[in-house]
């Protein structure tokens, strides 16, 4: 992606000075983040660097102690995940957030079930099971998880990777502006991982912005436009696959090389 087109657009999602502490633990310490329309921003960092906490603060799962959040230039305060969903932000959390005793289709539609059309649906508020199943099947097959045979299977009977696929299918099905994926391929096989990366590229083509958290450097450098390096709760740098090698990024991540949060051409976009 070329940097100039990005720098001229206003960020779709922009965070300034996010702080989140858990008692004595400082999870993130004054983090800035900008996400532009139709870009894939990877977030990398060691375990405990604050990646998950950062995206939780962006998606309403946690309320930051300090800091501001803007969507399309407008100030927002997400109190819970629905607020973020209403703003078009969908998230796959690291812990997946699925209801084990419900089936795959119900999980994909959890929180936004589809009612039967017409008067019947309005009066009885009855669910349109068939439509939800068909839609869920389509989304799952888009991810190419062929081992999922039965959309009415309970989620608790699925393998770890299959569960992850359900969570990803759910996010890509409804994310209209931003899709946030916290280690979406950690449990996936080689082919399934490639499918998810394809889906991420397709989202970018549809002008959806993606935040991807991953420990897999080849994947990150394969799909990301920019890479946010998180270190000890702070943003150590923002780099691009064009200007940095995976080894450079890892060096910043581990502190072997100095970070520079002005890197990656991001400062030019600040308001």
């Amino acid at each position: 992606m070329n940097d100039t087109s990005m720098a001229t657009d206003a960020p779709r999602l922009s965070a300034r000075g996010l702080v989140k502490t858990y008692g004595p633990v400082v999870a993130i310490d004054g983090v800035d983040l900008d996400l532009y329309p139709g870009e894939v921003l990877a977030v990398i960092g060691d375990n405990g660097a604050g990646k998950s906490t950062l995206i939780k603060c962006l998606t309403g799962a946690e309320i930051p102690d300090v800091g501001t959040l803007k969507v399309e230039g407008r100030s927002v305060h997400f109190r819970n995940p629905q607020d973020a969903q209403a703003a078009g932000i969908e998230t796959v959390y690291q812990q997946l957030a699925l209801a084990p005793a419900l089936d795959i289709a119900s999980n994909i539609f959890l929180g936004r079930e589809r009612r039967r059309p017409g008067l019947v649906g309005k009066v009885t508020r009855g669910l349109d099971h068939r439509a939800m199943r068909e839609f869920a099947e389509a989304k799952i097959s888009e991810l190419g998880i062929q081992t999922l045979q039965d959309i009415t299977q309970l989620v608790e009977t699925l393998s770890g990777g299959q569960r992850q696929a359900v969570a990803v299918a759910r996010a890509i099905a409804f994310g209209s502006r931003v899709v946030v994926l916290d280690e979406p391929t950690a449990a996936l096989g080689v082919r399934e991982t490639a499918q998810v990366l394809d889906v991420i590229r397709r989202l970018r083509e549809q002008d959806v912005s993606v935040i991807l958290i991953s420990h897999n450097m080849p994947n990150v450098f394969d799909v990301a436009d920019r890479i946010h390096v998180q270190r000890l709760g702070r943003r150590a740098a923002v780099v691009t696959p064009e200007t940095h090698t995976p080894a450079d990024a890892v060096a910043i991540m581990t502190g072997a090389a100095p970070g520079d949060s002005g890197d990656g051409g991001e400062e030019g976009a600040l308001p």
Binding site: Q95, A97, P100, A101, L102, N107, L110, G111, R125, L127
Partner: protein
């Protein structure tokens, strides 16, 4: 070519001859409604063999009338247990609402319909108190309802001052639930039909609406439900409040059944409602179960009490038998569930 198709090891394992017990277990697992139905039919037949008066339409009608109160409470109890809660105050709320309706209509001369509406509002408010303490103050449901059990019982007793309010001063509306309804040889009451209607309504809401899905999801894993975008606290609150309204309907049925508003009735209704839920196969850990299972559970309890009474078994031994029944039902449930992974 006489080449036989090679089976994989797993296919050979799956094609292995099953024992009858294994097949039965698998069937029961696939259709969770079967085992309570079988227990119900089995106990009906046993009691019929002991005393052939058991199966007379008059006696079956009586069982339904006897079971209506517990059945009504168990509807609300099921909703609460599905959220991984428990409500020890169901009977206390019902008695409290009974006394509110009775005092308004019988002593203050308020029209029956209005007394019922106020009673339903009091039931909802009682549920709201439980719901706020559980969902917002985040106390364990057991503790909350143990506390409100005492509070609502005391309020009901303070209100009644130890007196009962006789049915003839309550007016026709509040005692309407006692009106007989003939269905062929059976002799039901409006109250019984009302309870069946509540089962149908709640069964629909739980299985066919998004609210129902959210109740199951919250009972399963509240943290996951929140991240999925469900307003967990609102769902919990709605469950306790609607259960409170259900308990008010139970109070209405109770007034009809007893023919008076009194604090002396349905004393063991609390635990019996939990018994019905548990025998009906709903998990006390939340997120699993069905209200129609509870209906079967309530019927099983009713059949046991009535059948043992007809067989002239002492009341204490009836209680003993119900106790054994609970443990047997839950053991059966566990045994069936252990096949979970083997499809």
């Amino acid at each position: 070519m006489t080449e036989t198709i090679e089976q994989t090891a797993a296919e050979r394992y799956r094609a292995r001859p099953l024992t009858r017990v294994q097949r039965l277990r698998r069937l029961l697992h696939r259709h969770p409604g079967i085992s309570p139905t079988v227990v119900l039919l089995g106990s009906v037949i046993s009691f019929w063999l002991i005393n052939d008066r058991f199966l007379l339409p008059a006696n079956l009608s009586l069982i339904l009338q006897q079971v209506a109160i517990i059945g009504a409470l168990a509807v609300g109890q099921t909703m609460i247990v599905l959220t991984a809660g428990i409500d020890l105050s169901v009977g206390a709320i019902m008695i409290f609402v009974t006394m509110v309706m009775g005092t308004l209509a019988g002593e203050l001369g308020v029209p029956g319909v209005l007394a019922f509406v106020v009673g339903a509002a009091v039931g909802a408010a009682a549920g709201l108190v439980n719901g706020i303490l559980v969902a917002y103050v985040k106390l364990p449901p057991f503790i909350v309802t143990l506390g409100t059990l005492g509070v609502f019982t005391a309020l009901a007793l303070l209100m009644s001052g130890g007196r009962s309010i006789r049915g003839d001063v309550l007016g026709s509306f509040l005692t309407w639930t006692a009106t007989p309804v003939g269905l062929g040889p059976f002799n039901l009451t409006v109250g019984v039909l009302l309870v069946l209607l509540m089962y149908a309504g709640v069964a629909f809401a739980l299985s066919q609406t998004s609210w129902g899905r959210h109740v199951y999801a919250v009972g399963n894993d509240p943290a996951a439900a929140r991240l999925a975008g469900i307003r967990v606290r609102a769902v919990l609150l709605s469950v306790y409040v609607s259960a409170g309204v259900v308990f008010a309907f139970a109070a209405w049925v109770l007034i009809g059944r007893v023919g008076a508003a009194t604090t002396n009735s349905a004393v063991d209704a609390n635990l019996d409602s939990i018994t019905a839920v548990v025998i009906g196969g709903t998990s006390l850990f939340g997120g699993r179960g069905r209200v129609l299972g509870t209906l079967l559970g309530a019927l099983i309890v009713g059949v046991f009490r009535n059948g043992l009474a007809l067989a002239r078994v002492d009341v204490l031994w009836q209680t003993f038998a119900i106790g054994v029944l609970i443990i047997a039902a839950v053991s059966l449930d566990q045994w069936i569930r252990r096949t979970g992974a083997q499809r």
